[in-house]
């Protein structure tokens, strides 16, 4: 009897100690992550402005959501963000996979290349955006200098509202007007190029780690069977790399839905014809500038949250089945 009580006491002590250890982290999580998730729903149903207090705030029901969904600028920001995600995620993915495969061959100076490719990723978006804004400058930027010296017409880069496919097909006499077909505006595409330049090294290192995990004997067996490099890639490398591919797809897609800083710095007014306004940029404009419409911005934030949740769930459902796991 006494022994049982002791055991109980000991357990209680261990439990309380464990909770004590969790307290700091969980306290911050509760106060700055869980509580705001709930508060943000409530705020999104009110006409909260700036630093109003509860007493002056009115419940407005779904009015914020209705306003957001009717807002042309929000539609534009959705389209822009969609363009950004659709182009930057796969392009980064392809370029970094190629870089990783090239680095994984028997070459010297691998760590040198790795360092150089990784360098842009550790530098901050703020500095990089300023740098590339200068790079893309209409009159004295390097980008136009290269075009000019190749005998091509200089481009407007960050102030060109036309879609890249519209620009590409214009010389052929084809005029693409549908926004989805026209692709991101050249201004947005310039930012996409910058983001590819910045994040290639990061994804390359993840791919490289995955490639080095693949057992060499698969390749030896395939070589004996007479598989060419392309077949080896398609039937060994790619399937065995798919858990990492899956991870990278999710991460880069989610990251591209949260993009904001390069737009703020390279095109502070939202770009030509608002073609570089992203969802987060829109949120910032509505919530923290001008009228400080907190309620409205919270509605935008919640829609963004649902979109990101949706992506994760869809990817889990559809891609999850195709992923090959090494036992």
């Amino acid at each position: 009897m006494k022994r049982g009580q002791n055991k109980f006491k000991r357990r209680l002590k261990e439990y309380s100690e464990a909770y004590l250890y969790l307290l700091p982290a969980l306290g911050v999580v509760a106060l700055f992550w869980l509580f705001p998730v709930i508060l943000s729903i409530i705020v999104s149903f009110t006409n909260w402005k700036g630093l109003d207090t509860w007493s002056t705030v009115k419940w407005v029901g779904f009015a914020n959501y209705a306003n957001v969904l009717m807002d042309e600028e929000f539609h534009q920001s959705l389209l822009n963000t969609f363009h950004y995600a659709m182009y930057s995620a796969p392009l980064t993915f392809i370029v970094s996979l190629i870089a990783a495969i090239l680095l994984n061959t028997r070459i010297r100076g691998r760590s040198f290349f790795r360092t150089v490719y990784f360098l842009p990723f550790i530098t901050t978006w703020v500095a990089i955006s300023i740098l590339w804004k200068y790079f893309y400058h209409r009159d004295f930027g390097l980008a136009n200098y290269f075009l000019k010296s190749l005998g091509l017409k200089p481009l407007q880069w960050l102030s060109e509202p036309k879609g890249i496919f519209t620009l590409l097909f214009a010389p052929l006499g084809i005029d693409i007007k549908r926004p989805l077909l026209a692709g991101p505006s050249l201004a947005m595409f310039s930012i996409i190029l910058t983001s590819i330049w910045r994040s290639v090294g990061y994804y390359m290192i993840i791919f490289l780690a995955g490639l080095q995990n693949i057992d060499k004997s698969y390749y030896e067996a395939a070589e004996i069977d007479g598989a060419n490099p392309w077949q080896r890639f398609l039937h060994i490398t790619f399937p065995l790399l798919s858990p990492i591919t899956f991870f990278i797809l999710i991460v880069s897609l989610i990251n591209s839905f949260k993009v904001f800083v390069p737009m703020l710095i390279m095109t502070p007014s939202g770009g030509p014809d608002n073609t570089t306004i992203t969802i987060v940029f829109h949120l910032y404009e509505k919530g923290f500038q001008g009228l400080w419409l907190m309620g409205r911005a919270s509605a935008v934030a919640y829609i963004l949250f649902l979109i990101i949740l949706g992506i994760t769930l869809i990817q889990n459902l559809f891609l999850g089945r195709r992923v090959h796991y090494e036992s």
Binding site: L131, L150, I206, A301
Partner: protein, 359 residues
């Protein structure tokens, strides 16, 4: 015996083609130099000798190599490997060129920075640009801030916030990770899921409620606002939990016999054992804090509380087209991180590779 012979052949083969790569790149490099020299000398006139045309030539050479490697399947090993090197080197140039451009521009005069065609080398290195950029915030602020406002202040705030955040995260995460890895308690799974779910919530969606909370606490424009909301980090908790789980339980049994409590065991045994993980996580936490812009931009309105990134952004708005000064400021904002990277590169790479493999 046979295998050794084969190895010898490969090494020999490799050397031969490395020489080839070396020579071909020196050749390309000389072409570049000639191109740049001639290109910059002919102001305004776009002649054959512009760097861009040489780059085109280089791409054409790469194209020929690609064609060769496709048609010449067997015995084309050296073509393939030369190609690999050339593509990687071209990539390197693409990665480095903007940085080179940033640093060179920071030493130019205003006129040189606006020159077209661009100058690849300034007439005279303008070191005073750096001083001017460093002191620029003073000229750009109105009113009377309590501390002299230069980039020194921005650096101070950023370093302080970065260190406090990193230290705080490591402390909270070590405790939480230890509880998750080594202790039994009811609700363990639930708490773990809560933290896991936190990862799914984008920080941007929580900006507004967090802003309101901080305003209620009167924490806006204070260090609290920059540090405390970021003191729990899922990535760090995961990384440390993963590592703690690999430490055998025998150590805890031994420590118990010696009369040590859990807390003492954690700080005197577990933490020293997991130094590499602590450094890796610490680097990423510091980097995250150092590079963040959105949150500090919102919670800070007083100029003397700006972090380096907010200061740089403000300078970007004030400087207009003074690109030589902007490039100087960007360079010194980037430099500390680049230094840290060169010294602790191993930990960066390990950290990233680990997140990719474990998820």
């Amino acid at each position: 015996m046979k295998r050794q012979k084969q190895n010898n052949i490969t090494i020999h083969h490799e050397r031969k083609f490395l020489d080839l790569v070396f020579v071909s790149n020196i050749f390309v490099f000389i072409l570049f130099l000639i191109g740049f020299r001639l290109g910059t000398r002919m102001n305004g006139e776009f002649s054959l000798f512009t760097p861009a045309r040489w780059i085109l030539l280089y791409i054409a050479v790469l194209g020929i190599l690609v064609a060769l490697s496709i048609f010449w399947r067997t015995g084309g090993a050296w073509v393939n490997q030369t190609l690999v090197y050339q593509i990687l080197l071209a990539g390197c140039i693409f990665m480095i060129l903007p940085f080179f451009w940033m640093i060179i521009t920071s030493f130019k005069t205003y006129k040189e920075a606006m020159a077209f065609p661009p100058l690849w080398w300034p007439e005279k290195f303008q070191w005073k640009n750096w001083v001017e950029a460093w002191n620029a915030p003073k000229a750009n602020t109105y009113g009377d801030p309590p501390v002299p406002l230069t980039f020194t202040r921005y650096f101070f705030v950023s370093v302080l916030v970065g260190l406090a955040t990193t230290g705080g995260i490591l402390f909270t995460s070590a405790l939480a990770a230890y509880a998750f890895a080594k202790m039994k308690f009811p609700g363990k799974g639930l708490f773990f899921y809560i933290i896991l779910a936190m990862m799914m919530v984008p920080g941007q969606a929580l900006l507004i409620p967090n802003y309101l909370t901080l305003a209620k606490f009167h924490w806006l424009d204070r260090y609290h606002a920059l540090v405390i909301p970021w003191l729990a980090n899922v990535f760090t908790i995961f990384l440390m939990r993963q590592f703690f789980m690999t430490i055998p339980n025998d150590l805890w049994d031994a420590a118990q016999i010696d009369g040590a409590g859990r807390f003492r065991f954690l700080w005197q045994v577990m933490i020293p054992l997991s130094k590499p993980v602590l450094i890796t996580a610490g680097i990423f936490d510091f980097l995250g804090s150092w590079n963040s812009l959105f949150w500090p931009l919102i919670v800070v309105t007083r100029p003397e509380m700006r972090t380096l990134m907010v200061g740089l952004q403000a300078f970007n708005q004030d400087a207009g087209s003074d690109y030589h000064l902007l490039m100087a400021a960007s360079t010194f904002a980037v430099l500390p991180i680049v230094f840290i990277f060169f010294f602790l590169q191993r930990f960066f790479i390990q950290g990233i590779a680990r997140t990719g493999l474990k998820s």
